[in-house]
């Protein structure tokens, strides 16, 4: 299925509002999905026999910069039977001053690959995934302060008495 056919399929199934935008300028076109609907969209894309995106290649948490205050998650899906690829994105405005983290639905129930990738996004970018069963830090120690891949990150001076 081509990019436009997938888009039409999603609109037919979930309505116009599920796709909030698209990026067509780069080498790989991307669909921007409404941030609350991503889990059901992924499930449909995985199970629909015309798309069959059964393999989640990569899941990346992104901080889009200090001026924009925008956080997002990028999903790279592949379909092994059809040999196609698709990029999905979700984005959300988040004011950094607040205590709680930017939050998106977890796709852990759709692909188990997402389990560790979401933990990594939580660990390094500080994105919370709703209904993730095991959201702990994965690469950094449990008592590390801050999220290193955020654009406003400042490393702590000392970690257990060791200079960072």
């Amino acid at each position: 299925m081509s990019f436009n056919e997938i888009k039409a399929l999603l609109i037919r199934k979930f309505g116009e509002e599920v796709i909030v935008g698209e990026e067509l300028t780069g080498l790989q076109p991307a669909l921007i999905i409404h941030h609350d609907r991503i889990a059901e969209v992924c499930l449909e894309l995985r199970d629909n026999e015309n798309t069959y995106f059964d393999f989640l290649a990569c899941l990346s948490g992104v901080d889009y910069g200090i001026e924009e205050n925008m956080f997002g998650v990028v999903y790279h899906l592949s379909s092994l039977p059809y040999k196609t690829q698709l990029t999905l994105k979700v984005k959300k405005y988040h004011d950094r001053s607040r205590e709680e983290l930017p939050s998106f639905p977890s796709v852990n129930q759709v692909w188990r690959t997402a389990d560790w990738h979401e933990r990594e996004a939580f660990d390094l970018v500080g994105i919370h995934f709703e209904s993730h069963p095991d959201l702990r830090r994965i690469l950094l120690p449990d008592d590390w302060e801050g999220y290193p891949l955020r654009k406003d990150y400042k490393a702590q001076e000392y970690y257990h008495g060791i200079k960072v």
Partner: protein, 398 residues
Amino acid sequence: MEANSNTPYKTHYEKLISEAESTEMILNMGPQHPSTHGVLRLELITDGEIVKEVIPHVGYLHRCFEKHAENLTYQQTIPFADRMDYLASMNNSHAWVMGVERMLGIDKEIPKRIEYIRVLVCELNRIGSHLIALGTYGIDIGAFTPFLWCFRDREHIMNMLEWASGSRMLYNYIWVGGLYYDLPVGFEERCKEFIDYFKPKMKELNELLTENQIFISRTANVGILPLDVAINYGCSGPMLRASGLKWDLRRVDEYSAYPELDFEIPIGKGEMGTTGDCWDRFKVRVDEIEESVKMIEQCLERLMKDLKRTTDFDPRAKLPKKIIPKAQDYYLRAESPRGELGYYFITDGKSEIPKRVKARGPSFNNLHVISEISRGILIADLIAIIGSIDIVLGELDR
């Protein structure tokens, strides 16, 4: 793995540890344990010799690859990409370089000789990496000799790659738009010599280890990974192929010089037990070495005939002066010895430094499945399973 809103535990991990029974023991395997192949800690909940649950703890070798990549130019990041999977540095830098070249739109202009040299060194490196996987797997299960044999043969590859790049393991040889240097004079002949020497050695290794009855008893029907589980967990490379799926990105994506080469994709057939068991994963790597040998022979033939070195050939001729890709997102995937290696770039079109880079290491996803396939097995079998996954912690923790 239900969403745990009604339980008093914050994470699934807390639940597992808190609800372990008094007859069960929580045992740490690693981080300093030779069979974990690096600094990996596995927390086991055991009942006698039976493993009830495996909880991997990773991150001991985290070296902030993604943070470094956000502060360095594309060319400067190549040595860091090398250090991700330190057993297959060429494959790592090849993937990185291909991603940058495609974003710049110069991937079609790379001379054929350079593409062939890249594939040649990548396949040599793949053999070296698989030899370590096979040798250390033998030693995990108690066969010492194959380990020494594999390291002896790998040493030839190390020497050749050192001759070409100046370094034994971390090469920084493949550059954006070209190569560091052309192959040294006489490299092709030496490589041919090595291939002639190496082919019978694989036969010996098969006789000693692959078809050894003790080895088969330890690995066949152990750690069976069904295909649907493998796909859902994002396993790739030999893990996925051993479960019975012909999926090789060198064929699917047809990048670099691979479409012009003739090679098969070996898959697991369950010859000794069930499809997707440890023996199949081992056998797929053995077969892949033979395929790589075939590819190297074809590369050498072309490099010595129609793509011969000329005095005016400069592998740095196409090197871009400044690497500033247009503002875009790009995800590149390539087949490293361990599976799908991906780099996701976000660029802003103004600076020589990417805005965000995410690396998708194949070991990261391959290891994740271990808790799924290791419930209810013996501790000794767990060692067999870890070895058959062939993780490299440098890439897992990045």
